[in-house]
């Protein structure tokens, strides 16, 4: 297996969306190709860092304000003849 082929399968490999035979071939490649090992490992870390990053958390006061506005508009749409009935 060449590095380019490994990279093509990287997303399927990290997501576990891959059959046992291809997985074994990829892991065989990883065992001797240090560059692909590093790319695979740091891609996985990239995903984990973003997933755990808590970027753009909705502050509680803003959350309440938005929800109150949404609910109040839902009530007025209901009174003025809801589109969903």
């Amino acid at each position: 297996m060449k590095c380019a082929e490994f990279l093509n399968e990287l997303t399927n490999y990290l997501d576990g969306a891959i059959d046992a035979r291809t997985k074994a071939e990829l892991e065989d490649h990883l065992a001797w190709c240090h560059n692909c090992y590093v790319v695979c490992d740091t891609t996985k870390k990239t995903i984990e860092i973003y997933r755990d990053s808590q970027l753009y958390e909705l502050p509680e006061d803003l959350r309440t304000r938005l929800r109150t506005a949404i609910v109040s508009k839902c009530h007025s749409r209901k009174k003025s003849g809801p589109e969903h009935v």
């Binding site: 093509n8 997303t11 590093v38 984990e48 973003y50 753009y56």
Partner: protein, 216 residues
């Protein structure tokens, strides 16, 4: 090397009941759905629009649109996937309005071979994120993801940050499954490449890069 563990889904058994009640006019039931997903919609909206006010508007407009169109929700997909689809469209509309000079499309498929071929293969420090304080890390991550094309950014956020499956992401974005996979691979590799300069193992005395360079 182990695979990425998907986020565990919240139980959705009572969700259909909430949707049915909301359809029948129970605003309280709809409010429960808002509570359940407002944080997710806000995150997605801010990742796409890159603007706080726009993200607030997207949260309001997406939920109101969902409320008004509940009769169109047939229950074939999850309510959340259906809601995300509405929110993504609202967010893209605002992004286009703010940047009319740039074509913003989910079909945007930047074909550059070298994007897929990693240039930076230095290993990272054992706990790379701990080299920076929380504010610095936030800055690095924000600027880095903002540098991606909107179509890559959106797929990455839905799949890897929000934990939607490939199929749900395809449905929410109206893309084919191969298109989602191809954008996801390139988004992941580009983010990895850009983060490498911040997170690589450093010899003693070698300076950390300036955080303001994250988007270059």
């Amino acid at each position: 090397m182990s695979t990425i563990q998907p986020k565990v889904d919240e139980p959705v058994s009572d969700e259909l009941a909430l949707v049915q009640a909301a359809k029948a006019g129970d605003v309280g039931a709809f409010e429960d759905l808002v509570r359940r997903y407002d944080r997710n919609v806000f995150r997605i909206a801010q990742h796409i629009t890159q603007n706080r006010e726009d993200a607030e508007d997207v949260v309001q407009d997406a939920f109101l649109k969902a409320y008004s169109n509940l009769h169109q929700f047939q229950g074939q997909s999850k309510f959340y996937t259906w809601l995300v689809r509405i929110a993504v469209n609202e967010a893209l509309m605002r992004l286009r309005r703010r940047r009319p000079e740039r074509m913003v499309s989910l079909d945007e498929d930047v074909k550059t071979e070298e994007d897929s071929l990693p240039r930076e293969v230095a290993d990272w420090a054992p706990n790379p994120e701990q080299q920076y304080n929380q504010a610095e890390l936030r800055e690095i991550l924000t600027r880095t993801i903002q540098g991606l094309p909107a179509s890559f950014r959106t797929v990455f956020v839905l799949r890897d940050v929000e934990g939607l499956s490939t199929e749900e992401t395809a449905e929410a974005l109206d893309l084919s499954i191969p298109a989602v996979k191809s954008r996801l691979l390139r988004a992941r590799l580009q983010l990895r490449e850009r983060l490498s300069r911040f997170f690589q193992r450093r010899e003693n005395g070698k300076e950390k890069p300036e955080i303001g360079d994250a988007n270059q």
